[in-house]
């Protein structure tokens, strides 16, 4: 493979791997997680290490910071600022952490200790490494918070992690990582747990910091949009080996290796959109009078009962979904999009308004009648690992709706399960397998088969692909499209991923804080958004093309400047 000429730099690498191999000794055999990897990260440079789950990207980074479990067998070199850390004694390694190499974790909710103040956690590494003590350390910590964009840092430093939002917590984690001026920062999926708009802000912050501090960043991610936005160079990992290395432009625009090609082809892309507005929508087509409404919400209000106090999760929402149509509901976390799906599934009572399936209002239905309605609704959940009972063989999982609604004899049920498995392209022999024997994508296809068991008229898909790798996601989305064309069910598709909704849905509802901010045809809403929030959302979603992403980034900056500050 060709390694592109790195930026000229006399001071050598911030982090480099030389023929690094990691294998794990397990009870039964050795597992080769990383097979002879060589990679350099120079100061002030962002190198993205991309790959799907199980490719060994996290193991590589963990080897550099010396946190691999004791059953790991490491050969080769991992040089942090020219010092080999492979086989280094634990007490020496500890001195290098934070001052030479630091880490930003994926989940800001769990990376901070909830019972200590931010001050205590920020000054800890400064004091441990003898850089500053007492008031000096606090002063430095306040500087750091200011640097990562936490407003009013002198006051907020005394607060606890739960008093900050998710994005702010990730900023604090970044502040901790840069506190001792490390030569290199490992960012392990730093934005995966965040909403797109927050993700865009964190990416901006990282870009700003690496220029300011001249730190090398090893960015580990599966998101090609993030790569396009932040990285200078890209290394693609597959089954423990590097299959392709190059500048972000080379790899994303002219991939050479078939795996990279396949990976990039699998990423759903948003069509170009003018986020700054000034686009007149196509005239709205008249509503087809012959269409059959499958799902209808009118002034729907949904509430969670939190120990007596009501929390309004969905407020005054109306939409219509006709047969053969896919309605996408998009929004960020906390927007109430999954709550709508829950209510349709009968997992949450309707507080007020109308939620009707085929004209039958679910809100006023008795439990027995509601059960009959539910036979016509199929569901696919987000996490295929959790949505199949681990004690049910696949056959039982698929036929469960028939058992529940007392449909068919045993032989008929088995025949139906076989048909459905064929429809989702799985071999019939899977019938007697257990969920843990299948991969994530296969499990999700089993979930799709289960959802279709009773020929539903309505399919609820609640983030069906967000727990899957991109190449598997593509296969699952294709399958939903194919089955939808074949069985013509209506589908309510809940997702945070605008590109997926763009790909799949006919109509879309954009939700924010429980309210619909914009709805209509996908071609109107996602390609010519009228509402500021939709524009912001679209502008924040990164695309896996570095030049286009640079244009989008600039457009987003303009958009945020144009917007009048509110409240």
């Amino acid at each position: 493979m060709s390694i592109t000429s790195p930026p000229a730099n006399d001071r050598g690498t911030a982090l480099s791997f030389e023929n690094l191999s990691v294998s794990f000794e397990t009870e039964f055999s050795d597992v080769h997680a990383v097979k002879g990897l060589s990679l350099e990260v120079y100061p002030g440079e962002v190198v993205a290490l991309v790959g799907e789950s199980g490719s060994g990207k996290s193991v590589t980074s963990t080897a550099a910071i010396g946190l691999l479990p004791s059953n790991a067998y490491i050969t080769g070199k991992a040089l942090v600022g020219g010092v080999n850390v492979v086989g280094m004694a634990e007490n020496r390694m500890r001195k290098m952490r934070a001052t030479d190499i630091a880490m930003v974790f994926q989940e800001p909710m769990t990376a901070l200790n909830p019972v200590l103040t931010i001050e205590r956690q920020l000054t800890e590494s400064l004091e441990l490494h003898g850089l500053a003590y007492g008031k000096d350390a606090t002063r430095r910590a306040i500087e750091l918070l200011d640097m990562v964009g936490i407003p009013d840092p002198a006051k907020r430093i005394r607060q606890y992690p739960h008093q900050f939002s998710g994005g702010q917590r990730q900023r604090i984690v970044i502040a901790m990582a840069i506190s001792c001026d490390p030569k290199v920062i490992i960012a392990d999926e730093p934005t995966t747990a965040l909403d797109v708009t927050v993700q865009a802000e964190i990416l901006d912050l990282l870009r700003e910091l690496k220029d300011k501090l001249n730190t090398g960043i090893l960015l580990i991610t599966h998101n090609m949009g993030v790569v396009a936005d932040l990285a200078d160079r890209v290394a693609v990992m597959f089954h423990g080996s590097l299959v392709e290395t190059g500048t972000v432009d080379q790899v994303l625009n002219n991939p050479v290796h078939p795996y990279t090609q396949k990976l990039l082809a699998s990423v759903p892309r948003l069509k170009a959109v003018d986020v700054t507005g000034g686009w007149t929508p196509e005239p709205v087509a008249p509503v087809d009078p012959n269409r059959t409404l499958v799902l209808e919400a009118r002034n729907l209000v949904l509430e969670y009962d939190m120990r007596g106090t009501k929390f309004r999760a969905v407020d005054d929402l109306s939409f219509e979904l006709a047969r053969g149509q896919i309605l996408g509901i998009v929004g960020e976390s906390g927007s109430g999009k999954s709550t709508v799906a829950k209510a349709v599934l009968g997992l949450l009572p309707v507080a007020s308004g109308v939620l009707a399936v085929h004209g039958t209002n679910l809100a006023t239905l008795r439990p027995k009648a509601a059960r009959a309605v539910r036979a016509k609704i199929g569901v696919i959940f987000q996490d295929p690992a959790a949505s199949l009972n681990p004690r049910f063989p696949i056959g039982d999982c698929i036929t469960e709706p028939m058992v529940v609604h007392k449909v068919g004899s045993r032989a008929e049920r088995i025949r139906r399960a076989g048909e459905l498995l064929e429809a989702v392209h799985l071999p019939r022999s899977v019938l007697n397998r257990y969920p843990h024997e299948l991969s994530g994508g296969q499990r999700q296809r089993v979930c799709i088969a289960r959802a279709l068991t009773l020929d539903p008229e309505l399919l609820i898909a609640d983030e069906p692909t967000s727990a899957l790798d991109v190449s598997v996601q593509a296969a699952v989305l294709e399958m939903i499209q194919e089955l939808q064309a074949r069985y013509e069910f209506a589908c309510l598709f809940v997702s945070h991923d605008l590109a997926v909704v763009d790909l799949l849905a006919h109509h879309v509802v954009v939700m924010k804080d429980g309210k619909s901010v914009e709805q209509g045809r996908v071609s109107d809403v996602l390609h010519a958004p009228q509402h500021d929030y939709t524009r912001r959302l679209l502008a924040a979603a990164p695309v896996p093309e570095p030049r286009e992403q640079a244009v989008r980034r600039e457009a987003r900056r303009l958009l945020l400047e144009l917007e009048t500050p509110k409240g």
């Binding site: 794990f24 397990t26 009870e27 039964f28 597992v31 997680a33 199980g54 490719s55 996290s58 193991v59 479990p69 790991a72 597959f238 078939p258 795996y259 090609q261 396949k262 082809a265 699998s266 759903p268 829950k342 599934l345 009968g346 997992l347 509601a370 059960r371 539910r374 036979a375 609704i377 569901v379 996490d383 959790a386 949505s387 199949l388 009972n389 681990p390 004690r391 063989p393 039982d396 469960e400 709706p401 529940v404 609604h405 799985l426 071999p427 022999s429 899977v430 007697n432 397998r433 257990y434 843990h436 024997e437 991969s439 296969q442 979930c447 289960r450 190449s471 296969a475 989305l477 499209q481």
Partner: protein
């Protein structure tokens, strides 16, 4: 707009397709759930040995002296006193003649005699019967009540949970021995002391399991497969019995084995205090308490019942281990290896 299909051949990197191929290549023997459980249980060596040992003890206990009026093959009765022969020493021997023993011999009183000349084998067998009956009844009663109370409380939460758990707390704060003693007294006035005593013990020892199952169910009910079952219209009873309780089987089985071992010991304490089984009837606990002073000069009076209690308790524990592994589909060797792989490679 559709997803771009991959027209060109891309060997070994089409992930979804490669996974399917791997799945098809797997050994295609398909087994039903029952067959799988049975097969895994049989493969568990300790559990199989325990099952055989437990079955042997039970068959010996019930066939030797008979039960409920049906006569057994042993000619002596546990109530019949007689003259003490050779200080009541056991005549049972395993030592072969060439080592100075008498060969494999059963003898007149294999387990010896007690101070009044009663045949100790008959007494121990009677005691074993009582302990097995108590163990089985307590195991069933405590497990069923505990699992149901815990599952219902965990599933419904809210006031149902509050009421059931306060009731559980109430049972926990009442001293077990006092309650069992009082109820045991009433029980002894009825005809079948042992069975009633066992029911009473079962009614007061379900609390630990109820709390454990509630905790498990509270976390399991948030899983998506429960939401999936609810949304397909499954009744609450089905959700609890098919989706929640089977996934708590590990906790239930382990706890049931503890409950059984505990019940045998509880019966021992009660009999020792004089509230449980009373002479001339016999139980293993009663025998131990009666002859604890004989330990120095006539140790067999202590060893025989003690060893049988130990054998039953150990066997039940191993049996529980085997059952838990057999019921868990992820507990196969192959699967364990794969899950480890997944853990380390991410």
């Amino acid at each position: 707009m559709t997803i771009e299909k991959e027209p060109t051949e891309v060997p070994a990197v089409l992930l979804a397709e490669a996974e399917d191929a791997a799945l098809a290549r797997k050994d295609s023997v398909s087994l039903s759930q029952g067959q799988l459980v049975r097969r895994r249980f049989v493969a568990h060596r300790a559990a199989m040995i325990s099952t055989v040992a437990l079955a042997f003890i039970a068959v010996m206990a019930f066939s030797s002296i008979g039960y409920a009026g049906i006569p057994g093959w042993w000619d002596k009765d546990y109530t019949m006193a007689g003259s003490v022969i050779d200080g009541g020493r056991p005549t049972f021997s395993l030592l072969p003649t060439w080592l100075g023993g008498t060969g494999l011999a059963w003898g007149e009183h294999p387990f010896g005699q007690d101070s009044t000349g009663k045949d100790y084998f008959a007494l121990v067998m009677r005691g074993t019967q009582q302990s097995i009956i108590i163990a089985v009844i307590v195991g069933i009663v405590a497990t069923v009540i505990g699992a149901v109370v815990g599952a219902v409380a965990g599933y419904y939460r809210g006031w149902v949970d509050a009421v059931l758990m306060r009731m559980t707390d109430l049972f926990i704060v009442i001293p077990l021995l006092v309650l069992a003693a009082v109820l045991g007294q009433i029980a002894s006035r009825t005809g079948n002391t042992t069975v009633v005593l066992a029911l009473v013990l079962g009614l007061v020892t379900w609390t630990g399991l109820a709390r454990l199952v509630r905790g498990e169910v509270l976390s399991l009910r948030e899983r998506e497969y429960v939401a999936a079952a609810q949304s397909m219209g499954a009744k609450t009873s089905r959700v609890i019995l098919k989706h929640l309780l089977p996934n708590t089987i590990g906790v239930i089985v382990v706890n049931a084995t503890f409950a059984i071992a505990g019940a045998i010991l509880l019966e021992t304490s009660l009999s020792y205090l004089g509230f449980g089984v009373k002479a001339p009837d016999s139980s293993l606990g009663l025998l131990i308490s009666q002859y604890q002073n004989a330990f120095t000069n006539r140790p067999w009076l202590f060893w025989w019942p003690g060893m049988i209690i130990l054998a039953i308790a150990l066997s039940v524990n191993f049996l529980g281990d085997g059952l838990r592994d057999a019921f868990d589909p992820r507990q196969t060797r192959k699967a364990r290896r794969r899950s480890k792989k997944e853990e380390v490679s991410e």
